[in-house]
Assembly symmetry: C2
Homo-oligomer: 244 residues x 2
DNA sequence: GAGTGGTCTAGACCACTTG
DNA sequence: AAGTGGTCTAGACCACTCT
């Protein structure tokens, strides 16, 4: 590994960060599949040519980013989006009584369209580029709780129209079908009034207060992959946020 | 340090966690004040009787918890609640255009009352115990944006009624006046309709959708210190949440 | 018992800040 | 130049899992 920094001396990068970046690149290239074990610390140390301690720091950093899962006595595994732990990393709506439940989904529409200015800006594509759009209603505990629209750049999701069905957990689909891992997301929350488009699906009055969540989901490289707007009835559920 | 675990063998605690707990205890007892430098790694290692690497792991853990701030070449400092970095750790409402601004506050009322069941349950006190209550309106960029009520257990905030003024940043006040550090908080978000009590303050219609944030703030020991309910107009501002 | 990750130690050197 | 935190190494031992 380049530890001297002779080629690019200014942006000094610690060795363990260089190792992390190299390992993330191998993840992106699909060298290790979700759920698989990666080589042990000792093997990686020999292979990369650094000490076990440096490999450990790189693996610990990736574990903190939810890319890996380490189990004492078993090994280091590539995180899988379909695991419940990862699911609730991105699903923050929980019933007021605290019992976590899996949502169910009903697809309303799936179509391709030309991207508007907002979709183009947030997804990093040109205005007018083809995008896929999915509308669906999601229920918690048999109660229709939110309507949401998902936009995906068609260029990264070829063959999307051929899918027979769209599963409830689309991040698992992105991973299995296109090898795209959602690493993190940033959300903006607002309170809005229900329109006549969504009120019937949520069985609420037009004008009822809804929680609007606008999410941009990013892949391992930090590139935007998905834009999603959800409008939620927060009668017996709420959005949970932990600070600190 | 107890590394053998002979006394309580079952809940195995790594040495660096024991060191962390010991250092946190010294923080709680007020041995090191916010903003102060604590001893260097080498000194602490000699003092506690473990290696420098173990001290480092303990200090790194506390840094990750926002209790300490480490600066290469200078030293390790106790985090101060009045620093802007810590302020925005707990203030997640930002203008849509992205420019972060400091809110200003106007106090509406300050009084003591008997705790109801909700306040008692969340603050860990008995129903009917005396609590302080503060009502205020906060503005972002000269626009009244939220009304909020804060409840504090009177037992932990003696002399609260004698304060001439209540500053905008109450967490700095808790720290300076009572030595209470807010370490983390958990928030529940809902969309609600504006009532006639808050509509005039926010210059909005009764029934307008508001973002309601219910926060329980915890101290260094994880004990609840403050209950706060904020109702926000999210016309040109939003609540920012980072996932992953 | 063999292999994995987790902890702990000791020492060297690097990058940054201050006098 | 001296002192701080940050990185890197090498080796030992511990706790856990599987065969």
């Amino acid at each position: 590994m380049d530890q001297s920094g002779a080629v690019a001396p200014f942006p000094y990068k610690p060795l363990y960060v260089q190792v992390r970046d190299q390992l993330v690149r191998r993840l992106i290239e699909g060298q290790w599949q979700p759920g698989q074990v990666i080589p042990s610390e000792m093997e990686l140390a020999r292979e990369v040519g650094v000490s076990q301690g440096t490999i450990r720091k790189a693996l610990d950093a990736m574990t903190a980013e939810n890319l890996l899962i380490r189990r004492q006595g078993r090994g280091t595994f590539v995180a899988r989006p379909e695991e419940s732990r990862i699911l609730f990393q991105f699903f923050r709506l929980v019933p007021d009584d605290g019992d976590v439940t899996f949502p169910s989904s009903r697809i309303l529409a799936r179509c391709s369209e030309a991207s508007g200015s907002r979709e183009a800006a947030t997804l990093g594509i040109a205005e007018g580029d083809e995008i896929w759009r999915i509308d669906r209603v999601r229920s918690l505990a048999e109660t229709p709780s939110l309507v949401e629209t998902i936009w995906l750049p068609a260029a990264r999701f070829s063959g999307f129209g051929d899918l027979a069905e769209i599963p409830n957990n689309v991040y698992g689909l992105y991973s299995e079908r296109w090898g795209i891992t959602i690493a993190r997301a940033s959300e903006k929350l607002k309170a809005v009034a229900a329109t006549c488009a969504e009120a019937p699906h949520l069985r609420c009055e037009v004008g009822a207060p809804l929680l609007e969540i606008t999410r941009v989901a990013l892949d391992l490289e930090g590139k935007p992959v998905e834009l999603r707007v959800s409008r939620c009835l927060t009668g017996t559920i709420h959005y949970r946020s932990e600070l600190g």
